[in-house]
Protein backbone atom coordinates (compact mmCIF):
# COMPACT_ATOMS: atom_id res chain seq x y z
CA UNK A 1 0.00 0.00 0.00
CA UNK A 2 1.16 3.51 -0.79
CA UNK A 3 2.58 5.55 2.08
CA UNK A 4 2.16 9.32 1.84
CA UNK A 5 4.68 11.95 2.86
CA UNK A 6 3.97 15.64 3.16
CA UNK A 7 6.74 18.14 2.66
CA UNK A 8 5.75 21.34 4.48
CA UNK A 9 8.61 23.31 2.94
CA UNK A 10 7.89 22.51 -0.71
CA UNK A 11 5.35 25.29 -1.23
CA UNK A 12 3.09 22.72 -2.92
CA UNK A 13 -0.27 22.33 -1.20
CA UNK A 14 -0.73 19.07 0.75
CA UNK A 15 -3.63 18.12 -1.52
CA UNK A 16 -1.48 18.45 -4.68
CA UNK A 17 1.27 16.43 -3.00
CA UNK A 18 -1.11 13.54 -2.33
CA UNK A 19 -2.46 13.49 -5.88
CA UNK A 20 1.06 13.73 -7.26
CA UNK A 21 2.33 10.88 -5.11
CA UNK A 22 -0.45 8.53 -6.23
CA UNK A 23 0.12 9.44 -9.89
CA UNK A 24 3.85 8.96 -9.47
CA UNK A 25 3.34 5.57 -7.79
CA UNK A 26 1.08 4.55 -10.70
CA UNK A 27 3.63 5.65 -13.30
CA UNK A 28 6.36 3.73 -11.54
CA UNK A 29 4.17 0.67 -11.16
CA UNK A 30 4.38 0.77 -7.36
CA UNK A 31 0.60 0.83 -7.19
CA UNK A 32 -1.55 -1.26 -9.50
CA UNK A 33 -5.16 -1.57 -10.58
CA UNK A 34 -7.25 -3.02 -7.77
CA UNK A 35 -4.96 -1.81 -4.98
CA UNK A 36 -6.63 -0.07 -2.09
CA UNK A 37 -5.52 3.42 -1.09
CA UNK A 38 -5.19 4.05 2.66
CA UNK A 39 -8.37 5.21 4.37
CA UNK A 40 -8.76 8.85 5.35
CA UNK A 41 -8.31 7.94 9.03
CA UNK A 42 -5.13 6.03 8.26
CA UNK A 43 -3.65 8.93 6.31
CA UNK A 44 -4.46 11.64 8.87
CA UNK A 45 -3.19 9.52 11.77
CA UNK A 46 0.04 8.92 9.92
CA UNK A 47 0.92 12.32 8.41
CA UNK A 48 -1.22 14.70 10.48
CA UNK A 49 -3.08 16.51 7.72
CA UNK A 50 -6.63 17.73 7.38
CA UNK A 51 -9.06 14.88 6.55
CA UNK A 52 -10.79 17.02 3.93
CA UNK A 53 -7.46 17.32 2.11
CA UNK A 54 -7.32 13.54 1.75
CA UNK A 55 -10.95 13.40 0.61
CA UNK A 56 -10.31 16.12 -1.93
CA UNK A 57 -7.24 14.35 -3.29
CA UNK A 58 -9.19 11.09 -3.63
CA UNK A 59 -12.06 12.90 -5.37
CA UNK A 60 -9.56 14.38 -7.82
CA UNK A 61 -8.17 10.90 -8.53
CA UNK A 62 -11.71 9.62 -9.05
CA UNK A 63 -12.43 12.50 -11.40
CA UNK A 64 -9.33 11.62 -13.41
CA UNK A 65 -10.56 8.04 -13.62
CA UNK A 66 -7.60 6.71 -11.66
CA UNK A 67 -9.48 5.61 -8.56
CA UNK A 68 -12.93 4.65 -7.42
CA UNK A 69 -14.58 5.04 -4.04
CA UNK A 70 -16.60 2.08 -2.84
CA UNK A 71 -18.95 3.23 -0.06
CA UNK A 72 -18.14 1.63 3.26
CA UNK A 73 -15.10 -0.17 1.89
CA UNK A 74 -12.54 2.36 0.70
CA UNK A 75 -10.92 3.88 -2.36
CA UNK A 76 -9.38 1.62 -4.98
CA UNK A 77 -7.08 2.17 -7.93
CA UNK A 78 -8.95 1.52 -11.15
CA UNK A 79 -6.33 2.14 -13.78
CA UNK A 80 -2.66 1.58 -14.28
CA UNK A 81 -0.47 4.31 -15.80
CA UNK A 82 2.78 2.43 -16.04
CA UNK A 83 2.82 1.88 -19.80
CA UNK A 84 0.31 4.27 -21.36
CA UNK A 85 1.26 7.88 -21.80
CA UNK A 86 4.93 7.85 -22.76
CA UNK A 87 4.50 5.62 -25.80
CA UNK A 88 1.40 7.44 -27.01
CA UNK A 89 3.17 10.79 -27.10
CA UNK A 90 6.32 9.70 -28.88
CA UNK A 91 5.69 11.99 -31.87
CA UNK A 92 5.15 15.09 -29.73
CA UNK A 93 8.21 14.24 -27.74
CA UNK A 94 10.28 13.97 -30.90
CA UNK A 95 9.07 17.39 -32.11
CA UNK A 96 9.87 18.92 -28.73
CA UNK A 97 13.37 17.41 -28.79
CA UNK A 98 13.96 18.94 -32.22
CA UNK A 99 12.72 22.30 -31.01
CA UNK A 100 14.97 22.13 -27.93
CA UNK A 101 17.99 21.36 -30.10
CA UNK A 102 17.22 24.39 -32.30
CA UNK A 103 16.77 26.58 -29.22
CA UNK A 104 20.16 25.50 -27.82
CA UNK A 105 21.80 26.10 -31.20
CA UNK A 106 20.32 29.59 -31.18
CA UNK A 107 22.30 30.13 -27.97
CA UNK A 108 19.51 29.89 -25.37
CA UNK A 109 20.37 28.48 -21.97
CA UNK A 110 17.98 26.38 -19.84
CA UNK A 111 16.40 29.34 -18.08
CA UNK A 112 15.82 31.22 -21.34
CA UNK A 113 14.24 28.14 -22.89
CA UNK A 114 11.93 27.71 -19.87
CA UNK A 115 11.02 31.43 -19.97
CA UNK A 116 10.32 31.31 -23.70
CA UNK A 117 8.14 28.23 -23.31
CA UNK A 118 6.30 29.79 -20.36
CA UNK A 119 5.53 33.08 -22.09
CA UNK A 120 4.49 31.38 -25.34
CA UNK A 121 2.31 28.95 -23.43
CA UNK A 122 0.70 31.84 -21.55
CA UNK A 123 0.04 34.06 -24.54
CA UNK A 124 -1.30 30.98 -26.35
CA UNK A 125 -3.71 30.46 -23.45
CA UNK A 126 -4.96 34.03 -23.57
CA UNK A 127 -5.44 33.87 -27.33
CA UNK A 128 -7.31 30.60 -26.97
CA UNK A 129 -4.75 28.58 -28.93
CA UNK A 130 -3.70 26.13 -26.26
Amino acid sequence: MIEFRIDSTSGVSPYRQLVHQVRQALLLGLVREGDQLPTVKEVVAKVAINPNTVLKAYRELEFEGLAEGRPGVGTFVTRSLADSSFAAHAALRKDLRGWLTRARRAGLDDDSIAALFESTFRSGLSEGVA
Partner: protein
Protein backbone atom coordinates in the same frame (compact mmCIF):
# COMPACT_ATOMS: atom_id res chain seq x y z
CA UNK B 1 -24.74 24.82 6.11
CA UNK B 2 -24.77 25.09 9.91
CA UNK B 3 -22.39 27.49 11.58
CA UNK B 4 -20.44 26.45 14.66
CA UNK B 5 -19.50 30.04 15.44
CA UNK B 6 -21.36 33.11 14.29
CA UNK B 7 -20.07 36.51 15.33
CA UNK B 8 -21.71 39.75 14.35
CA UNK B 9 -19.83 43.00 14.93
CA UNK B 10 -18.31 41.55 18.10
CA UNK B 11 -15.98 43.74 20.16
CA UNK B 12 -14.26 43.36 23.50
CA UNK B 13 -12.77 46.24 25.46
CA UNK B 14 -10.43 45.98 28.43
CA UNK B 15 -10.53 49.34 30.17
CA UNK B 16 -9.86 51.80 27.39
CA UNK B 17 -8.24 49.35 25.00
CA UNK B 18 -10.17 47.42 22.41
CA UNK B 19 -8.75 43.89 22.11
CA UNK B 20 -11.24 42.98 19.42
CA UNK B 21 -13.39 45.24 17.33
CA UNK B 22 -16.18 44.96 14.79
CA UNK B 23 -15.53 41.29 14.04
CA UNK B 24 -18.05 39.49 11.90
CA UNK B 25 -17.53 35.82 11.17
CA UNK B 26 -19.33 32.68 10.12
CA UNK B 27 -17.49 29.44 10.73
CA UNK B 28 -19.14 26.45 9.05
CA UNK B 29 -19.38 23.07 10.81
CA UNK B 30 -16.99 20.22 10.12
CA UNK B 31 -13.96 22.44 9.57
CA UNK B 32 -10.57 22.64 11.15
CA UNK B 33 -10.16 26.38 11.53
CA UNK B 34 -6.78 28.07 11.90
CA UNK B 35 -6.82 31.37 13.76
CA UNK B 36 -3.64 33.33 13.14
CA UNK B 37 -2.34 36.77 13.95
CA UNK B 38 0.45 38.56 15.79
CA UNK B 39 0.65 38.60 19.57
CA UNK B 40 -2.05 40.90 20.84
CA UNK B 41 -4.08 40.65 17.63
CA UNK B 42 -7.09 39.40 19.57
CA UNK B 43 -6.88 35.63 19.06
CA UNK B 44 -7.23 34.58 22.70
CA UNK B 45 -9.93 37.18 23.22
CA UNK B 46 -11.97 35.77 20.34
CA UNK B 47 -11.55 32.20 21.63
CA UNK B 48 -12.42 33.19 25.19
CA UNK B 49 -15.57 34.90 23.88
CA UNK B 50 -16.50 31.71 22.02
CA UNK B 51 -16.24 29.53 25.14
CA UNK B 52 -17.99 32.07 27.36
CA UNK B 53 -15.05 32.99 29.61
CA UNK B 54 -15.52 36.56 28.38
CA UNK B 55 -18.63 38.50 27.46
CA UNK B 56 -18.56 40.78 24.42
CA UNK B 57 -18.58 44.53 25.07
CA UNK B 58 -20.53 45.00 21.87
CA UNK B 59 -22.08 42.83 19.18
CA UNK B 60 -23.16 39.21 19.43
CA UNK B 61 -21.57 35.81 19.30
CA UNK B 62 -23.41 32.53 18.89
CA UNK B 63 -21.75 29.13 19.25
CA UNK B 64 -23.57 26.01 18.03
CA UNK B 65 -26.77 28.01 18.08
CA UNK B 66 -26.50 29.12 21.73
CA UNK B 67 -24.97 31.86 23.82
CA UNK B 68 -21.45 30.85 24.96
CA UNK B 69 -21.30 29.54 28.53
CA UNK B 70 -25.02 30.20 29.10
CA UNK B 71 -25.86 26.84 30.72
CA UNK B 72 -24.58 23.32 31.36
CA UNK B 73 -25.84 22.06 28.02
CA UNK B 74 -24.00 24.77 26.13
CA UNK B 75 -20.81 24.18 28.16
CA UNK B 76 -21.01 20.46 27.38
CA UNK B 77 -21.04 21.06 23.64
CA UNK B 78 -17.74 22.94 23.58
CA UNK B 79 -14.35 21.53 24.60
CA UNK B 80 -11.63 24.05 25.39
CA UNK B 81 -7.87 23.80 25.76
CA UNK B 82 -6.54 27.04 27.19
CA UNK B 83 -3.13 28.36 26.29
CA UNK B 84 -1.57 27.57 29.67
CA UNK B 85 -3.03 24.00 29.79
CA UNK B 86 -4.49 24.30 33.29
CA UNK B 87 -4.25 21.04 35.25
CA UNK B 88 -4.18 20.30 38.97
CA UNK B 89 -0.53 19.63 39.76
CA UNK B 90 -1.32 17.73 42.96
CA UNK B 91 -3.79 15.39 41.30
CA UNK B 92 -2.92 12.25 39.37
CA UNK B 93 -3.90 11.51 35.77
CA UNK B 94 -6.55 9.13 37.13
CA UNK B 95 -7.92 11.85 39.45
CA UNK B 96 -8.29 14.17 36.48
CA UNK B 97 -10.37 11.59 34.62
CA UNK B 98 -12.49 11.03 37.74
CA UNK B 99 -13.01 14.78 37.95
CA UNK B 100 -14.00 14.87 34.28
CA UNK B 101 -16.58 12.15 34.87
CA UNK B 102 -18.04 14.00 37.89
CA UNK B 103 -18.16 17.46 36.32
CA UNK B 104 -19.59 16.66 32.90
CA UNK B 105 -23.15 15.56 32.17
CA UNK B 106 -21.88 13.47 29.25
CA UNK B 107 -18.62 11.60 29.81
CA UNK B 108 -16.99 8.92 27.67
CA UNK B 109 -15.00 7.14 30.41
CA UNK B 110 -13.84 4.27 28.19
CA UNK B 111 -12.78 6.67 25.45
CA UNK B 112 -10.83 8.89 27.83
CA UNK B 113 -9.07 5.92 29.47
CA UNK B 114 -8.27 4.44 26.08
CA UNK B 115 -6.77 7.74 24.93
CA UNK B 116 -4.62 7.98 28.07
CA UNK B 117 -3.39 4.41 27.55
CA UNK B 118 -2.72 4.97 23.86
CA UNK B 119 -0.50 7.99 24.44
CA UNK B 120 1.33 6.11 27.19
CA UNK B 121 0.30 8.15 30.24
CA UNK B 122 0.63 6.47 33.63
CA UNK B 123 -2.72 6.91 35.47
CA UNK B 124 -0.98 7.16 38.85
CA UNK B 125 1.38 9.95 37.74
CA UNK B 126 0.95 13.38 39.34
CA UNK B 127 0.08 16.09 36.81
CA UNK B 128 2.92 18.25 38.16
CA UNK B 129 5.43 15.69 36.92
CA UNK B 130 4.15 15.45 33.35
CA UNK B 131 6.10 16.75 30.36
CA UNK B 132 4.63 19.46 28.12
CA UNK B 133 3.50 16.88 25.57
CA UNK B 134 1.92 14.70 28.27
CA UNK B 135 0.11 17.68 29.79
CA UNK B 136 -1.32 18.56 26.38
CA UNK B 137 -2.41 14.96 25.82
CA UNK B 138 -4.11 14.79 29.24
CA UNK B 139 -5.86 18.12 28.64
CA UNK B 140 -6.99 16.90 25.21
CA UNK B 141 -8.30 13.66 26.75
CA UNK B 142 -10.32 15.72 29.23
CA UNK B 143 -11.65 18.07 26.54
CA UNK B 144 -12.60 15.15 24.28
CA UNK B 145 -13.97 13.00 27.12
CA UNK B 146 -16.98 15.29 27.42
CA UNK B 147 -17.95 14.44 23.82
CA UNK B 148 -18.05 18.01 22.51
CA UNK B 149 -19.32 19.06 19.08
CA UNK B 150 -16.71 21.79 18.87
CA UNK B 151 -13.17 21.76 20.19
CA UNK B 152 -11.40 25.08 20.73
CA UNK B 153 -7.64 25.12 21.31
CA UNK B 154 -5.56 28.18 22.12
CA UNK B 155 -2.02 27.56 20.84
CA UNK B 156 -2.16 23.88 21.69
CA UNK B 157 1.24 22.89 20.31
CA UNK B 158 3.30 25.95 21.22
CA UNK B 159 5.09 24.24 24.10
CA UNK B 160 5.54 20.83 22.48
CA UNK B 161 8.68 19.38 20.91
CA UNK B 162 8.38 18.52 17.19
CA UNK B 163 7.67 14.84 17.79
CA UNK B 164 4.99 15.47 20.42
CA UNK B 165 3.54 18.18 18.19
CA UNK B 166 3.17 15.86 15.24
CA UNK B 167 1.59 13.15 17.40
CA UNK B 168 -0.80 15.67 18.92
CA UNK B 169 -1.87 17.02 15.52
CA UNK B 170 -2.30 13.50 14.10
CA UNK B 171 -4.56 12.72 17.04
CA UNK B 172 -6.52 15.91 16.46
CA UNK B 173 -6.95 15.12 12.75
CA UNK B 174 -8.22 11.67 13.64
CA UNK B 175 -10.96 13.36 15.70
CA UNK B 176 -11.68 15.79 12.84
CA UNK B 177 -12.08 12.83 10.48
CA UNK B 178 -14.88 11.63 12.77
CA UNK B 179 -16.68 14.93 12.26
CA UNK B 180 -15.54 17.06 15.21
CA UNK B 181 -15.30 20.78 14.42
CA UNK B 182 -12.02 22.30 15.55
CA UNK B 183 -10.85 25.88 16.01
CA UNK B 184 -7.20 26.37 16.90
CA UNK B 185 -4.93 29.35 17.15
CA UNK B 186 -1.29 28.99 16.21
CA UNK B 187 1.81 30.89 15.20
CA UNK B 188 3.12 27.90 13.30
CA UNK B 189 1.95 28.54 9.76
CA UNK B 190 3.36 25.26 8.45
CA UNK B 191 1.15 23.40 10.93
CA UNK B 192 -1.83 25.55 10.00
CA UNK B 193 -1.30 24.72 6.33
CA UNK B 194 -1.18 21.00 7.09
CA UNK B 195 -4.18 20.69 9.34
CA UNK B 196 -6.55 23.57 8.64
CA UNK B 197 -9.10 23.90 5.86
CA UNK B 198 -10.49 27.25 7.01
CA UNK B 199 -8.51 30.30 7.96
CA UNK B 200 -9.05 33.47 9.98
CA UNK B 201 -6.42 36.20 10.07
CA UNK B 202 -6.67 38.76 12.85
CA UNK B 203 -4.61 41.93 12.97
CA UNK B 204 -4.99 44.89 15.28
CA UNK B 205 -8.12 43.40 16.85
CA UNK B 206 -9.96 43.04 13.56
CA UNK B 207 -10.73 40.21 11.18
CA UNK B 208 -8.65 40.84 8.05
CA UNK B 209 -9.34 37.63 6.19
CA UNK B 210 -11.65 34.65 6.67
CA UNK B 211 -12.63 31.75 4.48
CA UNK B 212 -11.97 28.23 3.26
CA UNK B 213 -8.28 27.83 2.48
CA UNK B 214 -8.97 26.46 -1.01
CA UNK B 215 -11.06 29.48 -1.92
CA UNK B 216 -8.61 31.95 -0.41
CA UNK B 217 -5.69 30.46 -2.33
CA UNK B 218 -7.68 30.33 -5.56
CA UNK B 219 -8.76 33.96 -5.33
CA UNK B 220 -5.37 35.51 -4.62
CA UNK B 221 -2.68 35.93 -7.25
CA UNK B 222 0.81 37.32 -7.38
CA UNK B 223 1.41 39.53 -10.44
CA UNK B 224 4.93 40.40 -11.50
CA UNK B 225 5.92 42.59 -14.40
CA UNK B 226 7.05 45.99 -15.62
CA UNK B 227 6.53 48.80 -13.14
CA UNK B 228 2.92 49.88 -12.89
CA UNK B 229 0.86 52.09 -10.65
CA UNK B 230 -1.58 50.21 -8.33
CA UNK B 231 -4.40 52.44 -9.61
CA UNK B 232 -3.97 51.06 -13.08
CA UNK B 233 -5.09 47.54 -12.21
CA UNK B 234 -8.55 46.43 -13.38
CA UNK B 235 -11.49 47.06 -11.05
CA UNK B 236 -11.88 43.38 -10.13
CA UNK B 237 -8.37 43.16 -8.73
CA UNK B 238 -8.03 44.40 -5.17
CA UNK B 239 -4.45 45.11 -4.19
CA UNK B 240 -3.51 43.55 -0.85
CA UNK B 241 0.19 44.22 -1.03
CA UNK B 242 2.51 45.84 -3.55
CA UNK B 243 6.20 46.50 -3.88
CA UNK B 244 8.17 48.23 -6.59
CA UNK B 245 11.69 48.64 -7.85
CA UNK B 246 12.72 51.12 -10.56
CA UNK B 247 11.40 48.90 -13.30
CA UNK B 248 9.45 46.11 -11.71
CA UNK B 249 6.20 45.84 -9.77
CA UNK B 250 4.93 42.95 -7.70
CA UNK B 251 1.32 42.85 -6.58
CA UNK B 252 -0.63 40.50 -4.40
CA UNK B 253 -4.22 40.89 -5.55
CA UNK B 254 -7.56 39.44 -4.58
CA UNK B 255 -9.64 38.58 -7.64
CA UNK B 256 -12.32 36.09 -8.55
CA UNK B 257 -11.54 36.41 -12.26
CA UNK B 258 -8.62 34.90 -14.17
CA UNK B 259 -5.80 37.36 -14.87
CA UNK B 260 -5.62 37.60 -18.65
CA UNK B 261 -3.15 40.44 -19.14
CA UNK B 262 -0.19 38.65 -20.80
CA UNK B 263 2.31 41.26 -19.63
CA UNK B 264 2.05 39.87 -16.09
CA UNK B 265 3.81 36.79 -14.84
CA UNK B 266 0.99 35.36 -12.74
CA UNK B 267 1.58 32.90 -9.96
CA UNK B 268 -0.39 31.51 -7.06
CA UNK B 269 0.38 32.51 -3.51
CA UNK B 270 1.40 30.20 -0.68
CA UNK B 271 -0.58 30.18 2.54
CA UNK B 272 2.31 31.67 4.52
CA UNK B 273 2.77 34.66 2.20
CA UNK B 274 -0.98 35.21 2.12
CA UNK B 275 -1.22 35.24 5.90
CA UNK B 276 1.78 37.53 6.29
CA UNK B 277 0.35 39.99 3.77
CA UNK B 278 -2.95 40.21 5.65
CA UNK B 279 -1.24 40.42 9.02
CA UNK B 280 0.60 43.45 7.70
CA UNK B 281 -2.64 45.20 6.66
CA UNK B 282 -2.90 46.32 10.29
CA UNK B 283 -0.66 49.29 9.63
CA UNK B 284 -1.84 49.95 6.10
CA UNK B 285 -5.45 49.92 7.27
CA UNK B 286 -6.50 48.23 4.03
CA UNK B 287 -9.40 45.96 3.64
CA UNK B 288 -11.42 45.47 6.77
CA UNK B 289 -14.50 46.65 4.94
CA UNK B 290 -14.13 44.61 1.76
CA UNK B 291 -17.22 42.38 1.77
CA UNK B 292 -15.72 39.91 -0.69
CA UNK B 293 -13.15 38.87 1.89
CA UNK B 294 -15.65 37.89 4.48
CA UNK B 295 -16.71 34.30 4.91
CA UNK B 296 -15.72 33.21 1.44
CA UNK B 297 -17.07 29.72 0.77
Amino acid sequence: MTAVIEASAVGKRYGRTWALRDSTLTIPAGRVVGLVGSNGAGKSTLLNLAVGLLRPTEGQITVLGGRPGSDARQLGKVGFLAQDVPLYGGLTVRDHLRLGAKLNPKWDAAGAQGRIARVGLDPSQMAAGLSGGQRAQLALALAIGKCPELLILDEPVASLDPLARRAFLADLMDLAADGLSVVLSSHLLADVERVCDHLIVLAGGRVRLAGDVDVLLATHKVLMGARRDPDRLPAGQTVIEHSHTDRQSTFLVHTTQPVLDPSWTVSGVGLEDLVLAYMATQTAGAHPADPTLRSVG
